[in-house]
Symmetry: C2
Subunit: 250 residues, 2 copies
């Protein structure tokens, strides 16, 4: 039996947003490894071993996946959204690079998924319709000063911005600082989208002008999208539509 | 009969990367509108009218979709990748904002898809595993000076970068200027990924150090991903793996 590792993206939550490629990989797997709430999205079946684990043990999880694959297991490593965006793919390749060289002969694939910012943008309209940045606001793995620098440069470049992991329970003050910086640096009322648990029964989409944005509007299940200076809001209909035009006039 | 418009993402090419949500919308549609090569990806069937159109007529196409929906048609507007990333969603909302107010009562949804940079990143490893920017290199709809400014700021912020529409037949010189700017500004040998026609039979993935990157390596079917300064390449196995680590040391 030939083992493999497929690092798969489960999308933001709804089954209808999981690609057939990922569904097929889960159906063929012998083992599923990942953060407990993501593993819980995979239906148990005979012949499938589920290995849920806690947050912040990404490297252990990656080594576990590679070790099992080297023993002939067919391992699906599951991430929410897309595995390549602030998720398990980088951790797996870090473990691969640090690990025994025979791991490099394993069959390893990354199967993309609908990442949170794309699902959130779709529900709100098209706020990422022009140039944009994606920034992880967690300072677990990088200095806060670098986050601030990137925020300032993103504003200077007039990118739309998508923020992942805006606000953890353990470090809630970071997002308040980020919002404060953006309110000062942008100096306008561009729309901010707080998109929580998109495509799940708990979905909540809120659109507010930047000066009214409050840190408490986000938690770790929220992706936050901040418009560019020319991002527009269309009122009327069921709810406001936020979109960034395709063109920037010179 | 109640009309609707669903702006759907077909993903980068392979059927196995189309979400079930999008497949269901296409199965329920009475009309499909889009750029000819994307409409060609939808199987004809009784009861479905295909409306292929040329490139650069996005607003006409959007008005057509809204007009048909207002007459009760069930209209799928198709984009490659994700409709919210340099695709039809923004054009549709531009047309909506400029059009008759009764259009705002229509049922309009954006259904996300796997955008080219995520598919390309997955095939290469995890180059977008940390903060990144997505920039449309076409200067059809924005001044070239703004593209250069964003490139410089993205380098200064040490973002990984994904470039859409790098090189058109009509304006091939822009990408040469962009590469030249990056080679000067980065001053290192970080990896560049040229990912063409990902997930199709014509797929071609090429990884080169930035100093070796040539404009001719890209065309309009290519998405280009440039690593951050700490992006790594793992050799060995079938082909090089490119990934950006999750952490940045202070």
């Amino acid at each position: 039996m030939t083992g493999w590792v497929k690092i798969v993206g489960l999308g933001p939550g709804a089954d209808e947003l999981v690609t057939p490629q990922v569904s097929d990989a889960l159906a063929a797997a012998s083992d599923v490894i990942g953060y407990t709430p993501y593993v819980a999205r995979v239906a148990p079946r005979a012949g499938l071993t589920l290995h849920p684990s806690d947050n912040r043990v990404e490297l252990d999880r990656a080594r576990h996946a590679l070790t099992l694959a080297a023993q002939g297991h067919r391992v699906a490593v599951v991430s929410s959204g897309d595995p390549g965006v602030f998720a398990m793919a980088s951790a797996l390749f870090e473990a691969l690079e640090q690990g025994p060289t025979h791991w490099r002969d394993l069959h390893i694939e990354v199967l993309p998924g609908i990442t949170a910012m794309l699902a959130a943008a779709a529900r709100a309209g098209a706020p990422l319709g022009h140039d944009f940045c994606a920034i992880n606001l967690s300072d677990n793995l990088k200095p806060w000063a670098l986050i601030e620098k990137r925020l300032r440069l993103a504003v200077e470049g007039d990118f739309a911005m998508a923020f992942y992991n805006p606000r953890s329970k353990s470090r809630p003050e970071g997002f308040a600082r980020a919002l404060d910086l953006l309110q000062q640096a942008c100096g306008d009322a561009r729309p901010v989208i707080f998109a929580r648990a998109v495509s799940t029964p708990e979905e909540d989409i809120r659109v507010v002008p930047l000066p009214d944005a409050q840190p408490e509007m986000a938690d770790m299940r929220t992706v936050v999208v901040v418009g560019a200076s020319n991002t527009r809001v269309i009122d009327g209909g069921q709810r406001p539509i936020v979109y960034t035009p395709r063109s920037v006039l010179s």
